[in-house]
Symmetry: C2
Subunit: 202 residues, 2 copies
């Protein structure tokens, strides 16, 4: 299921530049000239866009080991903003170098395609999640989707507020629903993990 890690994929590029980001630091914003694609070495970086009304939308959250902004490979400019959720370090791969590799190395291209198809699927999963109207159910499905299949637990990355935002909910209704899930006995929370106790929910 898991596609080849990006850094391995691009190991042919010797010494990618490493950039450190403080919490909330912006790596690039929409409209900037797209020069690099990235992978998270440590920390978490989110991709977001702003709607005309000024609300921001989280499009993707890249954790340690994951790449991001690959879609910018064939675009002149970035179409979203990249902001570090926590203090992070990112590996920077110049676009033209990457393109060169893809041009010549069919094997690596295939891996890259696998990575992209994986991304398409997870975007579709997110879209599907957004179609669930009930906050209660949406959160529950999100947890099911992201929990470790073995122990039905998941570690919380970033704040609950971020999670609410990724789910397209206000933090208030998120808190309420998650509290309800806990009261029902459907989930159990500690400060950093959520454990699913029941696999269905009213």
């Amino acid at each position: 299921m898991r596609s080849t890690p990006f850094d391995e994929l691009l190991s042919t590029i010797t010494k990618p530049e490493i950039k450190s980001l403080t919490k909330k630091e912006m790596l690039f914003q929409q409209g900037d000239l797209a020069t690099h694609i990235y992978a998270v070495k440590t920390g978490t970086v989110k991709l977001a866009r702003y709607t005309i009304e000024g609300c921001s939308v989280t499009l993707h959250t890249a954790n340690t080991g994951e790449s991001f902004a690959e879609a910018a490979l064939f675009s002149e400019i970035y179409h979203c903003n990249a902001v570090a959720i926590s203090a992070s370090t990112v590996l920077c791969y110049p676009k033209n170098k990457v393109l060169e590799i893809l041009q010549t190395n069919a094997e690596k291209s295939k891996d890259f395609i696998a990575l992209l198809t994986h991304q398409v699927r997870s975007l579709r999963a997110l879209l599907e999640l957004r179609s669930i109207r009930s906050a209660h159910q949406r959160i529950f499905q999100f947890l099911l989707l992201h929990a470790d299949p073995q122990n039905h637990e998941l570690k919380i990355k970033g704040t609950y507020k971020d999670m609410a935002h990724e789910l397209g909910l206000t933090h208030e209704s998120f808190y309420r629903s998650i509290a309800k899930l806990e009261n029902e006995g459907t989930i159990q929370r500690t400060s950093s993990t959520i454990k699913i106790k029941k696999l269905t929910s009213a």
Copy 2:
């Protein structure tokens, strides 16, 4: 902006199988063994999934000339259902043949990557659209996004109900909002087209 059409991309495959679909006919459903990837020759095919509650979610609408199910290339099974919105014909490319080409032909791989990155971006755009809470604004932005930049018009593919569904709205609220947009003078409708008269909307 527009990536290479899929059929051209795969022209190396001689004589892809052509399949005809009647309106509402299902090409494949989630869980089926993924054997082919497709391109629409004529008509329109939509990809949808069903949430646990039984509601369906449109993930993608593929029009004439567009490919679909490319994400199944690296998956054993299909993760969604493909249904023809209108009577359609589709080109069927066997997965293993396509993989073979990608394996050996770096140039075509690059084109395929371009196609996928394009798809990632449009999925993100859809996700952004879904984050707009107001039905009024969501529809308006959708129209802006899909209208011909020259004449600010768009042809309606399928029914209004389908469009509502793609936007994640009930058809009732969709009709109401679109009627309001017309009354405001923001748009003008004929039976098969929508013309945008004003580029902003209250």
